[in-house]
């Protein structure tokens, strides 16, 4: 069956450094990917998305990279801030709006 998985369950970075969170997926038919951020006590929040016809998409301080050859995507956060501390989920969305979520990476930003 399909799966979406994150490489590391936890990531700790120093404030001001760049963060990279990785995600692998198994279904080569996946055509749309989303990153969500979940802060403590809240629901997941949309950060950025990318379609399979793109390799890279940039937002404010965030960049998503998609490598379809190895079925891998990453979320890069520039100049990580304490407010970036959260659980990050990648999700793959193919049909009828159903998303398959990865397990989540907990990002901790040290001051």
């Amino acid at each position: 069956g399909e799966s979406v998985g994150l490489h590391l369950p936890t990531l700790s970075v120093q404030e001001g450094d760049n963060s990279i969170i990785n995600c692998a997926y198994s279904n080569s038919a996946s055509d749309y990917f989303i990153w969500y951020k979940q802060e403590s006590g809240k629901g997941p929040q949309f950060i950025i998305d990318i379609r399979s016809n793109m390799d890279k998409r940039q937002g404010q301080r965030v960049t998503v990279l998609l490598n379809k050859t190895v079925k891998h995507l990453s979320l890069q956060i520039a100049a990580t801030q304490p407010g970036d501390s959260a659980v990050y989920f990648c999700a793959e969305n193919r049909n009828a709006g159903k998303s398959t979520f990865g397990d989540g990476t907990t990002l901790t930003v040290k001051p």
Binding site: K42, G43, P44, Q45, F46, F89, A96, G97
Partner: protein, 110 residues
């Protein structure tokens, strides 16, 4: 204005009881979901409704019964609560792609 709202935020109850969680979205979305998030933060889809019609039912015990009175509301009723039902339950909605989540309902079964 809150886009996706859930009530209650916290729910503490005894094993064997029946409880309901309500969800409303004011985004005009056609599709709504219920997810269960366990203590390890894993998000598992339970149900999905599109325009009041059930379209996804992910092998959830039949003690869980969703109800969608209209496309802006999706409620979740749970019968005979068990200890393993303790989790955070999230409602979400979507127009086409990304999902918008509610704040979650923290259910603790004692």
């Amino acid at each position: 204005d809150t886009a996706v709202s859930q009530t209650p935020k916290y729910l503490v109850t005894q094993m064997g009881n029946d409880k309901s969680i309500k969800c409303e979205q004011n985004l005009g979305h056609d599709t709504m979901y219920w997810y269960k998030q366990d203590s390890k933060k894993f998000l598992k889809i339970m149900f999905s409704y599109n325009n009041k019609e059930l379209i996804i039912n992910e092998t959830v015990p039949n003690r869980f019964s969703p109800k969608s009175p209209d496309k802006a509301h999706l409620n979740l009723h749970i019968n005979s609560l068990e200890l393993g039902d303790s989790a955070v339950y999230f409602c979400a909605s979507t127009g086409f792609e990304a999902q918008y989540f509610g704040p979650g309902t923290r259910l603790l079964v004692l």
